[in-house]
C-alpha cells in the first residue's frame, strides 16, 4: 500500500504521454481509396464561407458526369469556414483532396507552412487556377438614402461602413484592397500604369499616402468588425447597423435574393478589384489516397461550360466567354484591377498590409491613442 502511489504517478504520466504520441502518429496512417470502375470514392473539398451553395450543386453535377464517364461512384464532402482557418486546418492535417479558398495567399500558406503541394500550384490550372471570379461591391439600404454611388461617397459625413475584420476574413482583405486600389487610381488621375513607371515614383508615393488615409478613414467609420463575410451581411441586414456594406458581389446578389429586394439594393462602383478565388489539388493527400486523377477531373470540371454555368448561377463571374454572354445582365460592367498589378501579388500585399504591425494595425494604433 505504501509503495503503490509512488509508482502510479509516473506510470500514469507515462501512459498519457504514450497515448498522446500514438494519437499523433495515428493521423498519418493511410486510408487508400479504390480507383477501379464500379468502386466508390470520396473526395474532401475544403472551401471558404460563401461557396456552400455553389459546391453543393457542382458536386451533384460532377458526380453524375463522372459516373456516366467511368462507372465509378463519387461522393464529395464539403467543409466550409473562414478561408484562413480552413487553410490552417489543412496545414494541421485535415485530409483535403482539393482546396477551393478565398485568396491565393491562403493556398500559398498551405504550400509554405504545410508543404502539402508544389510551389507551382497556381499554374496547374488555367486563369491563375481561378475558374470563377468575383469583385467587391456595395450593398445599401433600399432607395439608397445616403446617395452612395462610388468609393469617394463612402467618406461623406455621417456614413457608417460595415466590413469584416481583415485579420480573420478573406473577403475583408479583398474589401480593403479594393478601397485602396480605387483611391490610388483616383489620386493617379485614372492611370494605374504609373505604378510601373520609375519616373512617376514621387507621384505614386503621394498617391499611396492618399490611399492609406482613405482606408484609415474608412475603418474609422466601421462600428463593427465581424469575423467573417456572412456575419457582416447579417449585421448590416438583420441588425440594421451602418449605411453601406462592402462585400463580395456573389454575397450581395445572394443577400438580395434571400432577403428580398425590398430591404437592400446593390451599388456597383466604377472600379473595383478582380477577386480570383483559387483552387488546387493537395498533392500529399491525393498521392496517399490515390485520388489524384479524380481530384484533377473535379477541378477541371469547374472550367467546363456546365461547371461555369453553375458558378454563374451562384453569382460568381464565369471565365468562359459564352457563359459570360449568357449571364451578361446579371453582372454589371466595371473596371477591374488585379492584386498583382496594384499590390505586386498576395504575399507582398499581405506583408505590407495585414501582417502584425502592418498598415491595418497602424490604423488602429493611431485610433487608440
Amino acid at each position: 500500500m505504501s509503495k503503490q502511489p509512488a509508482l502510479s504517478i509516473p506510470l500514469g504520466i507515462f501512459c498519457a504521454v504514450g497515448l498522446t504520441l500514438l494519437a499523433a502518429c495515428g493521423g498519418s496512417s493511410s486510408d487508400t481509396a479504390g480507383s477501379g470502375a464500379g468502386s466508390h470514392v470520396t473526395l474532401l473539398n475544403v472551401s471558404y464561407d460563401p461557396t456552400r451553395e455553389l459546391y453543393r450543386d457542382v458536386n451533384e453535377a460532377f458526380a453524375k458526369e463522372w459516373q456516366t464517364k467511368t462507372g465509378q461512384q463519387v461522393t464529395i464532402k464539403q467543409s466550409h469556414g473562414g478561408s484562413g482557418s480552413q487553410a490552417r486546418a489543412v496545414i494541421d492535417g485535415l485530409p483535403a483532396d482539393v482546396v477551393t479558398l478565398a485568396l491565393a495567399y491562403d493556398i500559398d500558406s498551405i504550400q509554405r507552412k504545410g508543404k502539402r503541394l508544389g510551389a507551382n500550384w497556381q499554374t496547374r490550372f488555367p486563369d491563375n487556377s481561378a475558374p470563377y471570379t468575383s469583385t467587391i461591391v456595395f450593398l445599401v439600404r433600399k432607395g439608397n438614402p445616403q446617395q452612395i454611388h462610388d468609393w469617394p461617397d463612402l467618406l461623406k459625413p455621417g456614413i457608417a461602413i460595415v466590413t469584416p475584420n481583415p485579420k480573420t476574413s478573406g473577403g475583408a482583405r479583398w474589401n480593403y484592397l479594393a478601397a485602396w486600389g480605387a483611391e490610388l487610381r483616383r489620386e493617379l488621375h485614372g492611370d494605374l500604369t504609373k505604378l510601373d513607371d520609375p519616373k512617376a515614383a514621387k507621384e505614386v508615393a503621394a498617391a499611396q499616402a492618399g490611399a492609406e488615409k482613405f482606408v484609415a478613414e474608412m475603418y474609422r467609420r466601421a462600428p463593427v468588425l465581424d469575423s467573417g463575410a456572412r456575419g457582416a451581411t447579417n449585421t448590416f441586414v438583420q441588425r440594421e447597423i451602418g449605411d453601406v456594406l462592402l462585400t463580395w458581389e456573389n454575397e450581395a446578389l445572394l443577400a438580395i435574393r434571400e432577403l428580398g429586394p425590398q430591404k437592400v439594393e446593390i451599388v456597383v462602383p466604377s472600379i473595383s478589384i478582380l477577386a480570383e478565388p483559387p483552387v488546387a489539388v493537395v498533392d500529399t493527400v491525393v498521392d496517399r489516397r490515390g485520388t489524384r486523377q479524380i481530384a484533377e477531373a473535379y477541378l477541371q470540371y469547374m472550367y467546363s461550360p456546365a461547371g461555369q454555368e453553375i458558378a454563374a448561377k451562384h453569382y460568381f463571374r464565369p471565365r468562359n466567354a459564352q457563359v459570360q454572354e449568357k449571364f451578361r445582365e446579371q453582372f454589371a460592367p466595371l473596371e477591374l484591377f488585379t492584386v498583382d498589378k496594384v499590390f505586386g501579388g498576395w504575399t507582398a500585399a499581405h506583408d505590407k498590409h495585414f501582417a502584425d504591425g502592418g498598415v491595418f494595425d497602424q490604423i488602429y494604433k493611431v485610433k487608440g491613442q
Binding site: 500500500m1 503503490q4 502511489p5 509508482l7 502510479s8 504517478i9 506510470l11 500514469g12 504520466i13 501512459c15 498519457a16 504521454v17 497515448l19 498522446t20 473562414g82 484562413g84 482557418s85 490552417r88 496545414i91 500558406s109 507552412k113 475584420n165 485579420k167 480573420t168 466601421a222 462600428p223 463593427v224 468588425l225 465581424d226 469575423s227 456575419g231 438583420q238 441588425r239 440594421e240 447597423i241 495585414f354 501582417a355 502584425d356 494595425d361 488602429y364 494604433k365 485610433k367 487608440g368
Partner: protein
C-alpha cells in the same frame, strides 16, 4: 470497532485510483498545458515581451478580465437572489424557472451570442428602448459584460442553492427568539453558511467568463483597442499562422487567471479564519 486507530476506506484501491487520476489529469490537462508552454518558449524574450505588452493586447486583457470580474460580481448578487427565491419560496412555475437556470450551460455559446445581439442591437426588443436614452449595449463593452453574465449565471445559482438549503431554519428561529434582528440573522447565520459556496460560484463564473469566445464575438463588435477580447486576439494570431504568439497570449491568460483565482482562494481562507476568530 476492533481497536485499530486507522480506519481503511470501505473501497480499496488507493494506488489504482491515484494512478487513474494522474493518468487522466496528464492526458487532459497537463500535457496540453505543457505544449502551450513549449510553444511559447519557441519565441525569444524580446518577441515575447513585445507580444504580451503590445498596447492592443493590454487593452484586450483589460476588457477580458475587467468584464469578467464585473459579470461575476453581477452574478454573485443576482445569482444569490435567484437561488434564495428558488430555495425559500414555493410558487407556481418554480420548477420551470429552476430548469431555465441551466439553459446557458446547454446552449451553444454562438446561439446565446446571436440571441443577445438580436435583442440588444439598436433595432432589437430591448435595444430600441435603451437607444432612446442613448445607451448602446450591442457592439460596446457593455455587450461583452451582458454576454459574460449570461453564461456565468448558472455557476453561482447552482453552487449557492445547496448551501442555502443547508442553512438550519431552527437556528434562524432561535436567533430571532434571542432578539436578533433580520440583518443580524442574515449576517451571522445565513451568510457564514453560504459564503464559501458564493465564493466558489463567483470563481467559476469568473473563470468561465475569461475563457469565453463564442457568445462574445457576436455582440462585442470586435474593434481593436475597444471591444476586442483576448481570446479573439488569440484567434487572430492563429489566422496569421503566428502559433507562438497565440500560445504566448494563451499563456499570459493562464498566468493572470491563476494569480486571480489563487488570490480569491487565499482571500476566502483568510475570511474563514477571520470569521471564526470574530465569532468566538
Amino acid at each position: 470497532m476492533n481497536g485499530t486507530i486507522r480506519t481503511p476506506s470501505v473501497l480499496p484501491g488507493f494506488g489504482l485510483t491515484l494512478g487513474f487520476s494522474t493518468f487522466f489529469l496528464s492526458a487532459i490537462v497537463l500535457i496540453p498545458l505543457a505544449a502551450l508552454v513549449t510553444k511559447t518558449a519557441t519565441m525569444g524574450w524580446d518577441d515575447l515581451v513585445r507580444t504580451l505588452l503590445d498596447p492592443r493586447a493590454v487593452a484586450s486583457y483589460r476588457l477580458s478580465f475587467g468584464a469578467s470580474l464585473l459579470a461575476a460580481t453581477l452574478n454573485g448578487v443576482f445569482g444569490f437572489i435567484i437561488a434564495w427565491t428558488l430555495t425559500r419560496y414555493e410558487f407556481p412555475g418554480r420548477k420551470l424557472i429552476d430548469a431555465l437556470i441551466d439553459m446557458p450551460f446547454a446552449l451553444p455559446t454562438a446561439v446565446s451570442g446571436i440571441a443577445l445581439t438580436a435583442v440588444f442591437a439598436e433595432n432589437g426588443w430591448i435595444g430600441q428602448y435603451l437607444a432612446v436614452y442613448g445607451i448602446k449595449v450591442a457592439y460596446t463593452w457593455i455587450g461583452v459584460v451582458v454576454a459574460l453574465t449570461l453564461i456565468g449565471l448558472p455557476f453561482v445559482v447552482r453552487s449557492v442553492q445547496p448551501a442555502l438549503m443547508e442553512v438550519q431554519r431552527d437556528l434562524e428561529d432561535a436567533a430571532e427568539t434571542l432578539g436578533a434582528n433580520r440583518i443580524t440573522i442574515f449576517r451571522r447565520i445565513i451568510l457564514p453558511t453560504v459564503a464559501p459556496a458564493m465564493a466558489t460560484g463567483f470563481t467559476m463564473a469568473f473563470a468561465r467568463a475569461v475563457g469565453e469566445y463564442g457568445s462574445v464575438i457576436f455582440i462585442a463588435g470586435n474593434l481593436p483597442m475597444k471591444t476586442e477580447i483576448t481570446p479573439l486576439l488569440i484567434v487572430i494570431k492563429l489566422e496569421q499562422f503566428d502559433y507562438a504568439g497565440a500560445a504566448a497570449l494563451g499563456f499570459a491568460m493562464l498566468v493572470l487567471s491563476f494569480v486571480l483565482l489563487f488570490s480569491i482562494n487565499l482571500l476566502q481562507a483568510w475570511g474563514r479564519r477571520h470569521h471564526v476568530a470574530a465569532g468566538r
